[in-house]
Amino acid sequence: MKTKKNLTSLILPVAFLILVFLLDQLIKPTDSMSMLLTVLQKGSVYALAAVSMNLLNGFTGLFSLGHAGFMLIGAYTYAIFTIPSQARDSVYQYFDALIRVSFPEVLSGALGGFGYVLGIALAVILAGAIAAVFAWLIGLPVLKLKSDYLAIATLGFAEIVRAIFQWQKLGPVTNGSNLLKSFERTSTFRITLGNGTVISFATFVPVLIAVICISLIVRLVNSTYGRAFKAVRDDEIAAEAMGINLARTKQLSFCTSCFFAGVAGAMMAMVLSIAQASNFKVAMTYEILLMVVLGGIGSISGSIIGAMLFISASEWWLRGLDSGSFLGINAPGIFRNGFRLVVFSLIIMVVVLFFRKGIMGDRELPEVIQGWRQKRQSRKRRAE
């Protein structure tokens, strides 16, 4: 039983990754199905962002609203450390770039293709690590506060970060209010074979990062630390009385959550091909929060489903509402710019009204499927 469970939990992600890899090769950017790739790319960014937020809000009961700020830090860190040297001066056109190292470039010089991959991985990890360091510094004073103050403090932090990253004085590092571009991104994740065939990893890479990070979070949640997080969430006083160090446990959860927010920020940069501080507004945090709530607070599969549905609806299914025709109905008068958002908000309201605890509640997908199976079996038995 146990080995079977381990096997399926390994086979499913691997099969999924192979499928994504194939889709990358089969769907051309001009196909109508190319939206599927966009959804998978952005969906994996937001899925990781939502799961990492859920780790803090859902599993530890600490309400933070600083996610966009930590993602911004991750996006910039990743971008800065992957800009190739020949592109650097045109990116930093008004400044003298201070950081003059590109991990993928340096490492591929030394180790070839493997070095390139390693360089990307290092930049992504550094993105998470720097976000985590900031989280630690903020956590020191703020985690002592009651939870609602934490929300306000982190919200403020995110806004300050956004302002500071656009500050001209920091231009040599952050490029001031100008955006960062030309760094290693999904469109550069490709290999050209000898005969000219191009193998693309544009969707595969972000999906892979999300799969790895989310599995790490799942394992954390199901470990002794996950139990400590839930104890703090359910009853702080009892947790403390049972020897759980509140300050340390909260700090761990906060830093881990922000580490993965930083990674999601790095993914965001590679998917969008740009990093610009003004994109990381509070609205982004609210969107992620909405995904968490839609999916179910305290359910990791819920957050993934919430993120995927949200991105599919906003990027794909409801696109027609903005551009004249939807489900074969042509009504340019109604279906014009902005109508999508109206419908979208209505759908969200309906979902929130009818699924009070989100789509999954606090259960995970395997439990729910097992529940269905048992129900079907017992019905069959009754019928016989």
Partner: protein, 280 residues
């Protein structure tokens, strides 16, 4: 007989209310000691001070002979202090550990108003309590390098549940249990910490006479089988008189009597303040 817990001049003042005044108490190894008194006498407050939930306004607590908590009236409290022995600890360094630090020394408690982890199963409530005992860091926990320890903790949890008689409900949600069993689970959770000293706050509250009798035997067993030292708060006088070695009686924060059960039962002040009315 070595003392496990010793309270000296412990005073807890909330604003202008002195909830506990100059409490002096010793609990020796292997003893069962009871703390009794009418509602609002300050018993739970005393527990909260011992376990670090509150920092006492004045006084000192030693655990296994070592001072672990110490304070004297400071700041605003200095002028408004209404308790006794104000000057006793002024020169000495303040020690104010967090509850988890005190628990780490070897004490574990239960709560009068049950505080189980509500979203968790009975099994997980006990298992979670072992977190502070586990040596895993976050990385070894994520990569399951602590599988051995995890397995041991799970086995130990099953043993404890067996011991307290909750094996059959191990996978139920903790809040779905009847009151009496929730209180047992609180004791099970405390036992998971392998404490020297168990502090039980009204473990028999809400129990019928039969359940109370079972609990009495169970607490006795904790001492004889597991060699635990027990400090308990209880309103069920049969239980208290049955198993306590010594009893402290609080009334309006003040200690009005201490002694063996027979001494307490004969004490005129205690009968007037508490026993006379408590015999419902």
């Amino acid at each position: 007989m070595a003392s496990v817990l010793e309270l000296k001049n412990i005073t807890m003042q909330f604003g202008g209310v002195v909830a506990v005044d100059d409490l002096n108490m010793v609990v020796n190894e292997g003893e069962i000691v009871a703390l009794i008194g009418p509602n609002g006498a300050g018993k739970t407050t005393a527990f909260n001070v011992i376990t670090g939930v509150y920092e006492p306004t004045n006084g000192e607590i030693s655990f296994c002979g070592k001072p672990v908590v110490r304070n004297h009236p400071q700041g605003k409290m200095k002028a408004g202090y209404k308790g006794s022995c104000a000057e006793y600890y002024t020169g000495k360094p303040v020690i104010s550990p967090t509850p988890d630090q005190l628990t780490g020394l070897g004490m574990a408690r239960t709560f009068q108003n049950i505080r189980l982890w509500k979203t968790q199963t009975v099994f997980n409530n006990v298992l979670t309590a072992m977190h502070s005992k586990s040596s895993a860091n976050m990385f070894s926990a994520i990569f399951r390098l602590n599988a051995e320890e995890e397995k041991r903790q799970r086995e130990r949890t099953a043993e404890i549940l067996e011991y307290v008689g909750l094996s059959d409900v191990a996978n139920e949600l903790s809040t779905s249990l009847p009151y009496g069993k929730q209180r047992r689970l609180e004791i099970a959770r405390a036992l998971a910490l392998e404490p020297k000293l168990l502090l039980l706050d009204e473990p028999a509250a809400g129990m019928n006479p039969q359940e109370t009798a079972e609990l009495t035997a169970f607490i006795e067993k904790l001492r004889t089988d597991l060699h635990k030292t027990v400090l308990l708060i209880e309103h069920h006088m049969d239980l208290v008189m049955d198993i306590s070695d010594r009893i402290y009686v609080l009334d309006f924060g003040k200690t009005i009597a201490e002694g063996t059960p027979s001494e307490i039962q004969a004490n005129k002040r205690v009968i007037d303040a508490y026993l006379g009315v408590a015999e419902e």
